[in-house]
Symmetry: C2
Amino acid sequence: MDADLKEIEAHEKEPGFVDGYLLYLLASASHLASGQFHEELRGAGIRVPEWRVLACLRDDDGQMVTQLARFALMEQSHLTKTIDQMTERGLVTRRSDEVDRRRVRIFLSDKGRELANGLVSQAKAHEDRLVRQLGASDIAQIKSFLSHMVETLENNE
Amino acid sequence: MDADLKEIEAHEKEPGFVDGYLLYLLASASHLASGQFHEELRGAGIRVPEWRVLACLRDDDGQMVTQLARFALMEQSHLTKTIDQMTERGLVTRRSDEVDRRRVRIFLSDKGRELANGLVSQAKAHEDRLVRQLGASDIAQIKSFLSHMVETLENNE
DNA sequence: TCGTTTTATATGATATCGCATATTATATTT
DNA sequence: AAATATAATATGCGATATCATATAAAACGA
């Protein structure tokens, strides 16, 4: 009996579709890796969407809602609600755009910025550990591929 | 005035943390790419968690709930509820394990398998288009990195 | 074997998410 | 300038997701 059949018998099954499917690989890598950091967030009493908003605003403060929602990978109405909560907690403030008053711009408060800075430090530390754990020397390549992918998909839709 | 400062003035801002953060790149690449296929699913009246369950069972039928939940990247109690719905729709069946009767094994129905096969074909077609769109010659490398990442993170937790 | 612990799934309550649409402001057309 | 169309955000509501825990079966210990 040849090796392949033996594997099947032992229920190590045929290759299967999912394990080689790009979207599944991306989703599960993201899920597992982010899961680790999300644990840390929980410890700090921060929810994932809040973290995303904090990090995105730290990079570019005063974004308008729609734009920020795309950047933070969330749906607009959900962001609006997240902003409500974060406003309550004194992490961000809303200010309507001077020029186009439909637009609402979101700004970090001092408290929010401090929190964001701390979390970004944690995130960097976590990323370092992760990369070491992966023993990935070619991490720059991976990042560059992913960036390319993001750029392509953003523009083409 | 040097180039860097000019950029800042033009609000093309400093590099920022998020754009180079591995977990963000993974999450957004996954979000954008999967988003495309999820549109197709919507068209077919299938929800994302249902698709995941179908695809996972197609690769390995009769999984127990906990195991399937991990594979399908969802939380156990949520899977239980998804299974309820899919059972209603005649896509899967529950059968309790002969040996250990705490365990519940989930099987595709004929209808479910047919649906799964069709969706997997769509997924393959979509992946082909995506890879072509990305002009990615080194896609095998990427996949292998992601697989390695998933394996590492699965075992180490 | 009885009590305790662990494991697997289900359930119920709560919070989150997302769609459809309302509201308000700007742009465009006539 | 009025009417209409488009754009940005908010809101309501139903669906989904998650947490904590209940239930039930098996494994383990004394």
